[in-house]
Point group: C2
Chain length 579, copies 2
């Protein structure tokens, strides 16, 4: 490709409504243009990236044995009624009536359609397993589309659906897809983590999310660098600190020795402030969180105890105490005769749930249930009863032991770009998708489903790879792998000849190179290719040519390197192999 025959549309400034770096850079680099909220045109430069991502996804899905088809975007609503999903779906499902007043939806996913195809065309165990996938533009009417292509309304997605005679076979394919997704994100050149995830609205049991790691990611992930353990912070288990659990009895841990004393802590309501005021470590403090748990007979006042440096995980707490809400001020005063900020479990006769970390503490600092006072040297068994319930109710923090027993956890942020589910028989049962087994008996199929946000990956890759000059694309998905930038192209025949020869040589070697024959100012051409994120740049100038050399610079290199003309193609091939 030559730049003069392509369309380069870089901007000096991003429109002010672009919130995050990938959105800004995609607009500035001319990868996308906004048509309406959450709806973008993929410009020629951006489409090259999108297609490269799409092709890697397709190649690996094919290699894994999945079979591509293409389902309609427009689906009859009847199918969504049959699956029972229609009424549950919110307004992000775009519904419309056709000219004959029949109800349709623009499908955000295709469980119903593929199940309908399979129930008609697959009758026997001999035709199973089968895994069908498609790569398709989808529409979801997000209430607040934002972040450019990361949370757009129209987007490109790979969605796959597998059908099995048994749960064991579904599990085999689920592992196959886990490995396939790992290969895909590795080939895309992205740092990622597969994390255990909640299944959300799509239904079924057993699922993993694939996250591209980036500081701007919406999801917090806990992972163990020493193993492949990773989980959403919401789900990662905070294991009981082992070292201090000698006898297994809570409170027996470190053997408290201090005497309980009441200390004046005027105006200090947060653990951080109390610890600092008393000159004690924050890890010695206990925060009591008052909640109202829902019961059939009404609501019950419950105290949740957490170490001062820990945060409550509401999902975990809910699994222990059931549905709850935070107690109102007057409910706290009624239960403890004290306002929030100075409350504690000493003297409280009601239900107490202690986090695992609290249960092994000794010589604790906690609220005195008296405004302006805290207690120090508090110990279970002596100053208050052993807590009736000990459970994991906090978020993990950096340094926590990994639940798989291998080293300690670290935290990072991620952008969800893939998701694999075991749907089991949810859809197959609703839509009566059955097969005849070897005994000639009708059985409901087991199903899995597997999604990748193809357009979202482009945004996520930029969130992960950029600097102050622009995008830094992995070589495999950059719009071009190499930019050849000639100096004085229009006037210098020697430059034109050398640049043209290198271009031809690279194209012949299968290297996706663009020759910038625009003859603009060097600074402006350099800035464009750095903004667009082309990984490798070759400058062809008369001065270098006199010495038989060309100038090479990698997108993240501090300095350029001179390479002999005859060696440049091999040099670049090596660079692309290393990547």
């Amino acid at each position: 490709m030559r730049a003069s025959q392509f369309f380069i549309a870089t901007l000096k400034e991003a429109p002010s409504d672009a919130e995050i770096v990938s959105h800004k850079l995609m607009l500035r680099a001319g990868l996308i243009r906004r048509l309406a909220g959450g709806i973008y045109t993929w410009m020629p430069m951006g489409l090259r990236v999108l297609r490269k991502v799409e092709n890697i996804v397709r190649e690996e899905m094919d290699r894994a044995g999945a079979i591509e088809l293409l389902m309609p975007a427009v689906q009859p609503f009847e199918l969504w009624e049959e699956s029972g999903r229609g009424p549950k779906y919110g307004p992000e499902l775009l519904r419309f009536k056709d000219r004959h007043q029949r109800d349709f939806v623009i499908g955000p996913t295709h469980e119903e359609v593929i199940t309908d195809v399979v129930r008609r065309d697959v009758k026997s165990y001999r035709q199973l397993p089968r895994h069908f996938y498609q790569i398709q533009t989808k529409f979801r009417d997000e209430i607040r589309p934002r972040f450019g292509v990361m949370r757009g309304r129209e987007f490109l997605m790979k969605d796959g659906y597998s059908f099995h005679t048994s749960y064991a076979d579904l599990e085999r394919e689920y592992r196959n897809m886990y490995d396939t997704y790992s290969r895909i994100f590795t080939r895309l050149g992205l740092k990622f983590r597969a994390v255990a995830a909640d299944t959300g609205a799509i239904g079924g049991t057993g699922s993993h999310e694939f996250h591209v790691l980036a500081d701007s990611g919406e999801d917090a992930i806990a992972f163990c660098p020493a193993s492949d353990y990773a989980a959403n912070v919401e789900l990662a288990e905070a294991v009981t600190p082992v070292k201090v659990m000698r006898s297994g009895i809570p409170g027996d841990g470190a053997g408290g020795t201090a005497t309980m004393e009441k200390k004046a802590t005027p105006g200090k309501t947060r653990c951080e402030d109390v610890a600092a005021f008393l000159g004690l470590p924050l890890t010695q403090t206990v925060k009591a969180i008052a909640v109202m748990a829902e019961k059939e007979s009404g609501s019950e006042f419950v105290l949740l105890l957490l170490r001062g440096d820990h945060d409550l995980n509401e999902i975990k707490a809910q699994k222990v105490v059931g549905e709850f809400r935070f107690a109102r001020d007057e409910e706290i005063v009624e239960a403890l005769r004290c306002k929030a900020g100075y409350i504690g479990a000493v003297g409280f006769k009601g239900r107490v749930v202690a986090d695992r970390s609290v249960a092994v503490m000794s010589d604790m600092v906690c609220g005195a249930n008296e405004e302006g006072f805290h207690l120090t040297g508090v110990n279970f068994g002596r100053d208050l009863p052993q807590p009736a319930t000990v459970a994991d109710i906090r978020n993990v923090v950096e340094g926590d032991p990994s639940p798989d027993g291998n080293g300690t956890l670290e935290l990072c942020r991620g952008i969800e770009v893939g998701h694999i589910f075991q749907l089991r028989t949810k859809y197959a049962e609703a839509l009566k998708c059955t097969f005849l087994d070897e005994q000639g008996k009708d059985q409901v199929m087991e199903m899995g489903c597997y999604g990748i946000g193809v357009s979202r990956i482009v945004g996520a890759a930029i969130e992960q790879g950029h600097d102050e000059r622009g995008i830094i694309f992995p070589a495999g998905i950059a719009p071009f792998a190499v930019a050849i930038v000639p100096m004085n192209y229009a006037k210098s025949e020697a430059v034109r000849a050398a640049a043209g020869a290198l271009h031809a040589e690279l194209l012949a070697a299968g290297i996706d190179a663009i020759l910038d024959d625009r003859d603009e100012r060097p600074g402006s051409m350099f800035a464009d290719w750095e903004l667009i994120g082309i990984p490798h740049r070759v400058v062809v100038g008369e001065r270098g040519l006199k010495e038989g050399k060309l100038e090479y610079k990698g997108r993240s290199d501090a300095e350029a390197t001179m390479v002999a003309i005859g060696e440049m193609a091999a040099f670049l091939k090596q660079k692309l192999c290393d990547a």
Copy 2:
């Protein structure tokens, strides 16, 4: 690909609602499955065909210098108001409100969106010309979707839009696209014609349609085998018969010699019946068609005269007499004192329009304006006045001289699969899409637009290529180029080895071959691959192997050929080159 890892879903019978052969065969061969009226899933087998068509289109568009991008399917209705097209479009335009009650459409074409992109990003003559195209799923809410993918509601289309500084440059690109489309349909392996066309609703002037020739086609086309002249029958000019035009005066042609006589023709109202009854050639008869032409002052009774073997072309007639409707029985009786079937121009004092072919006739047979009687030996000048108006008002027929002076016309039927338009400044003016010319002056861009019905091509190819056993695909778009069909695959190790080796050899040579390892009955496997339309079949059997041979059969061959094992790959390569 191995059949066991693919998905083959052939049917014995097509569903009864499939009307035409391509629709039936696509369902039976498992290329598509119906989801709703005019909405189909492209099954794995069909998607391979669709993608091959798509890739040929893409390669040739790229080669022609067009640049691919991808616009959103969902478009804000405001743009359609700005272009003025929104209110004019009928109910096939799918409109909907998003959750914020903003109006959107699912765009059936993208003139507005691309013009919006270009007006924002292209400012100078230096950035022109540019031709952008996309290959995209579109939706059109057809009132009566039918013929499978030939007139579906959801379909895949290539749409391109070019922008120019001058009309001359638009014309250059228009010719470039004319040539590109011809290359595309040639590469697709289809018999086609480019025909001059009316522009229809899309607007602008100057357009050609590309038709795949097939007996079942909806459009009648007149073409000249001796030149590249082709036109819709509605538009093809019927030139004045030259041979009989000696002096250029109508009626002077053949020099009538007969006497005018009134003949009883009881019950004979059609020219065919009159000619047969009188024992005269049909070409000697004249039919008079009575119409009411609209005038400001009311309507005027006009007689249109056509040779008995010719049909009226209403579009052409309208250009001569203006808007008209056929006269009612009572209007005919009032004007001619005779009922239809026996009417003629002799004695009629009103307006007469004669077709060019009539004007050169002599010794004509026409209605006597008396029920049950016709006149013979009628001649212009003697028996009735020279017609005031002589014009081309008929459809061309086979054997008519070609308007370009090269030989004679033939007729065929076609399926429209491509269309190129000169839009000129229609959209650019409405959307204020301008550029600065070399003098720094604002100018409106000239535009062209160019469409190809990608999914429709699959149906059209099947209409053109099929027999009683199934589809006959051109090799370039068949789902697989070669089917390897082993006999007794499961039990014979020799067969398995030979089939596997040939398969590997073909794949290595870049030949898209499928190995049918299903081990079904030979007849059933043969029937499947013939139904699906695979152009080349190789049978691997133990008997042949003993002699070192494999059996080859082309899809349209009457007999199979034995080919030495070692020569089969080269043999197939040659076959594919020849295609």
